[in-house]
Every structure is written in C-alpha cells, then in structure tokens.
Amino acid sequence: MRAASLILVVLPVLQGSPARDDGQWTMPAKNNAATRYSGLAQITPRNAARLRPVWTFSTGVLGGHEGQPLVVGSTMYVVTPFPDVLYAFDLTHEGYPLKWKYRPDVNPTSLGIACCDAINRGAVFADGKIIYNLLDGHTVAVDAVSGKELWKTQIGDMSQGETTPMAPFVAGNRVIVGPSGGEFGIWGWVKGLDVATGKILWTAHNMGPDSSMLARPGHGRYTGAPNIGVTSWEGDSWRRGGAPVWGWISYDPQLDLIYFGTGNPGPYNTEQRPGENKWTNSVLARRPGDGSLAWAYQFTPHDSWDYDSNAEMILVDMVVGGRMRRVLVHFDKNGFAYTLDRVTGELLVAEPFANVTWAKEINKRTGVPILDTTKTTGVSRGNVQGICPSLEGGKSPASPSAYSPRTGLFYTATNNLCMNFQATPVTRIAGTPYIGASTPYMPGPGGNMGEFIAWDAARGRKVWGIKEKYPVWSGSVVTAGDVVFYGTLDGWFKAADAKSGRQLWKFKVGSGVVGAPISFRGPDGKQYIAVYAGIGGDWFLLSGDVRSDDPADVRPPADFAPDLARHTSQGGIVWIFGL
C-alpha cells in the first residue's frame, strides 16, 4: 500500500503538474492549454456526495446557455445568450449581489443568421477587461471593475451570414476571434485584435489564395501546396465555402502558436464543391502576433457529413510511442480522437471514440481517412443511410473536454447518434442559409444516445464510460481532487470519480446542461463548482417543445428522443455548488 500511494504522489510531478492553482477561472478553458483542469482539491470522491447548491441566479434569458462563467479575484462574470448581457457578481457579499450589469446594443436580426439558437460561449479576462463577442458580429471589451464599455469592434458581417457566438481568446496582446456561418456560405477567417484598442491588426482566411490565408508554402512547417486554399476547390467555390471558427482556441507560449479548428465546408451538398476543400475541417496553427500560418492538418478532407473540427485542441506533454512528445489532443465530430505533435502537425494517434461508419480508419502515414465509400453523400448518391456519427458529432465542439495531469486522462461528452443524408442542390443567397441536405437522426447501437468517457490519448482507447440516455452535450471540468463534473440534456449535473468513473453525486438543475462547468476558490477559501443550466444550441432545434415563451412556436416531440421535453424546458440558471 505504501508503494502504491508513493506512485500516486510522484505521478503529477512527473507529468508536469501546474503551479499551485490561484483559484480563479479567467479564460474559457481555464488555461492556455485548454485543459479545464482545476488544481483545487477540497472536493474529493470521499465527500462529493455532500455537495449542495449554495447559490442560483436566473439569467432571465431562455437561449442555450453554452460556455462558462469567469471568476476573477472575488467577482464572477456571466455572459448570457442573446441579448448577450454581462453580469458581474460580488462573491464577497451574502447572496452574491450584482456589482453591475452591462447591456450591449445587439442587433436582433442576428437571431436569423445564427444557424442554431442564439448562444454565446463566454468571455475572457485580460488587461483588466472582460472581452466577449456579441451575436451580431461585434467584439466588446468592458472594464472588469466598472462595467464601462472600453471598445467595441465590428468583426463579422451579418449580411454575409457571419455571427459571432464563440469565446474570444487572448494570446499576448492579441484578441483572437472567429465567426460562425458554416451553414450560411461564409468565407471563414480568424482575426487578431489589439487588446488595448480593439483595432483589427490582421485577418487570416481559412481558404482562398495564400495571401488571404497568410500562408507561405515551404516556409517553416507549412507544407501546403501553393494556393491550395484555391486549388483544392472548384472555381470560386472557396469564396462561400464555410470553414467557420466557432469553437475554442488554445496557445503554446513557448512555441508562440495558437491552435484552433475550422468548421465544415459549405454547402453540405458535396457536388457543388469538388476537391479536398482545404482548410475546412482542419486544425490550424498560427502565430498570434501576425496571424501567419505555421502548419495545418485536415481531419476530414472533402467533408461529406458536416463534420466540423471546431472542438478544442488540448495541449499536453505526454509519452506517445515511448517518446515524450508535445502534443495536442482533439475529439473530432467525425468520431475519431486525434493526438498530433503540436510542433510539426505530425499525426501520432487517431482512433474512434464513438461509433463510426463513414471511415474504416485513419491512415497514420498519410493522415487521410480510409473511407467506406457507401457512406459518401451528394445529390447523385440519393438518400445515404446509416451514417455514424450524425452531424451532431461523435462529440460536439460545443462540449469542451477536460484533461487531468494527475490521471493522464481526457474526459469528454459523446453522442451516439447516426443519420441518413439526402443532399439537395442549393443556391447561395447572401444572408440566408446555404445548406443543401436533409439529415434525420436516429439513436446509434446500444440504446443509449450518449456517454461520458475517459480517454487515453497516448494509446487511443477508452478507459471508462458512463452511459447516458440522451446525447451528452455539456463541457466538463476535472479537479485535483480527482472529481470530474458534467451535465446532461435531461437536466442532471453529475460528479464522477476521475480515476474509476464511479458516479458520486447528481443534482437536477432545472434545465438541460449545454454549458461547461468550472471550479473556483471563493473569498471564503472554499472550493466551488459553477455551471449553467439552460438547454439550447442544437437542442433548441432538436428537443421538441422545450420553449414556452412564444405562443406561435409549439413544436412536436423530437422524433428520435420523443420524451426529452418531459425532463427539461428552456431557461438559464447559474448554479454554484459547494460542500
């Protein structure tokens, strides 16, 4: 026994445990590496059953509450879905009263340009500012103390189908932002803004000529053929080819590279965009200072299934194949979990974490999927049956994963859904949807539509899983107490033992969870867990009758989950739990 406990003590040191946690949560994924790992350890598998709600707050908004609060010092910041209200709560007073609330002027037209509910994925704290995106294509910076708006910059163009629900990321003195609009025929990009002024300093497109992609083939690690962002498309289809950036961004300060995923090519009808469609469904590594492209890798070339790659790129150092590697780990919508060398972009591991039928495997040498061609879609292919995962993804990018340096495991929500896919011709009309497919879903094999899993990214295998009746759409947080937290669409917030997957505790939070929990230390020195309840996002479209604020919108039950609306309705609530 003594030997065993000694190993457990040594392990975190060997794996580079971060410095003592300051108890704050100042950026969307806790840290630059996007691990969503909290170093707080008061809550443990032994005492988690005693967790109880200590505070709640109705946001007054019904849209999908994705993302997470921030805790900076003794203030908690909450951004709501549209109309993108920013609340600042004083954690030093009983009842956590508001310090202030910031009500931006947001164009409600954005509600019709956002593909899938009017969500917001949260804010970032930097340079004394709370920085976040409004749905209507603006980034704002608000003084973290006073709540006064410091700058507001238009970054997106709604007339071209761009909205901006993603959480900005700050690397050095740059705010990195990107648009949604993979269903609206946008020309995807990321932009680098000056933290101090909000001025746009660079714009880097994800496709198009090298000059637009800020790419220099042959320089450094970037090996793309010249102008591959044009030549891997037919004609000018790249101009409306999608590649939105609506997920999470991470940063390696030593390499001075940011990492982010790009979304699906548009339209869904593949026959309107022959070619590999680079760099859609890819991970891009760029220099935050000037946006230049360092390397890129495409997960799903010529995507036939809406397999966006916007999920987080978690940066860890781990032994893979006997060598210590600087890697990034990514759970793609296409059902494969990838481990890449984040210095070079070399593919190290790619194994399915969900039920996959569209591909047999990923060729490790070329990095290219080996397709089951009977699952390839397009108008001439008719109604293609039995594609897994569905376009909700084996995991949604909206549900960010967590990594514990103590267990060496990744923790992620997954979906077990399949789909049929009937592509149709579609015409781009700027400012309207550009989709071109009908894609009904059905539960995957096994009966459970979701599972929360622990993943070994060095070997590419599942270590444990907790099956859930409905798709799991929440983010997760894992702590130094070896407890991992997630929520479910039917409105449970749950704790499990990070080592074993043993379920420790659950609480019904009033609405389905599509947000990402955080852990922080309160001014009283105690560890707390905060999470949003508030079903929405894609589940606004898919859950059936979960809204009750509009007499003109009464929906039939979801066909593949007909009783989901029995367990949840819309409504945003911020929860804080403690011992």
């Binding site: 409600p108 037209t109 954005s110 509600l111 019709g112 340009i113 956002a114 593909c115 899938c116 509910d117 269903e183 149709t424 011709p425 579609v426 015409t427 781009r428 009309i429 700027a430 400012g431 309207t432 949807p433 550009y434 989709i435 009908s438 606004f540 479209l541 059936g544 009758d545 509009d550 007499p551 003109a552 919108d553 009464v554 929906r555 039939p556 039950p557 007909p562 009783d563 609306a565 029995r566």
Partner: protein, 149 residues
Amino acid sequence: MNTCVVRGAWCVALSVLAACGRSDSAGSPLSVRYPEHVAAGGNQPPAVEIKNPLPTDSVNASDGSKVFSAMNCDGCHGGGALGWVGPSLVDGRWRYGGTDGAVFQSIYYGRPRGMPAYGGIMSPGAIWKAVSYIRAQPVPVTVPTESFK
C-alpha cells in the same frame, strides 16, 4: 444590388415561376391590416386587406414549394416548413399575423427577430407563390403538446 442571384437549375425554375426583378404587376402593398392587433380607441388604422392574387390551387402551391426551397426558406423554417431555428409556418400560429397580406409583408420586408427581407430579390409574384404554398399546408387539428405516459 437588387440583382438576381439565383443560378443554375433553380434559376431556370424560378425564371419560369416569375421573372427575377421587381416589376411584377401585383405590386407591394403600403399598409396591411392586422386584425389580431388591438386598435387604440377601437379605431382601426387606414389599411387594406391584401388578398393573394393567385388562385388557390395545387399548381401555385407546388410552385411555391419550389420557391420555398430555392430561396433557402427551409434552411431556417425546416423541411415542410415544420420549424427549425425559425418557427413552424404550418401550425396555424403566427408571430406576425397569418393573413395573406401579413405573410406577404413578412417575406417582403422581413421581420426584426431574424427574418430576412426578400423583397429586394424576389418579385411579388414569386412571394405570392410562397404564400400559396404555406397557406396550402394542412394545419394540425390539435396542438402537439405532449402527454407523457
């Protein structure tokens, strides 16, 4: 830029339905009566009842179905107009009025919570086809509120 953006096969289809442009003889109404609105003092504002100039028949409804797809209406309102990120148009319930004229205005001018204005790229004749399609869909007899067992 009120240019016709419709290309390819759908342009042919639409050109047959109604020429792209803004010169259709049906014109655009200035003021539509909303019978469901409360009139202050009980006095209705000067307004007109706008009726769909097209006959109610399956040809117009079928043409309107093609317009509904070609104009990407289904991208928000769903296949069959059953509702998606935008509300259902076939449940007999209306945010902005369900008369011919109100539906026409919703399409022509757009609505503030996300409905784009199509009057710049669709002729009134094409819009009336879409109205014909929407109004031809059967309205469920019962509200689909679930009864869980």
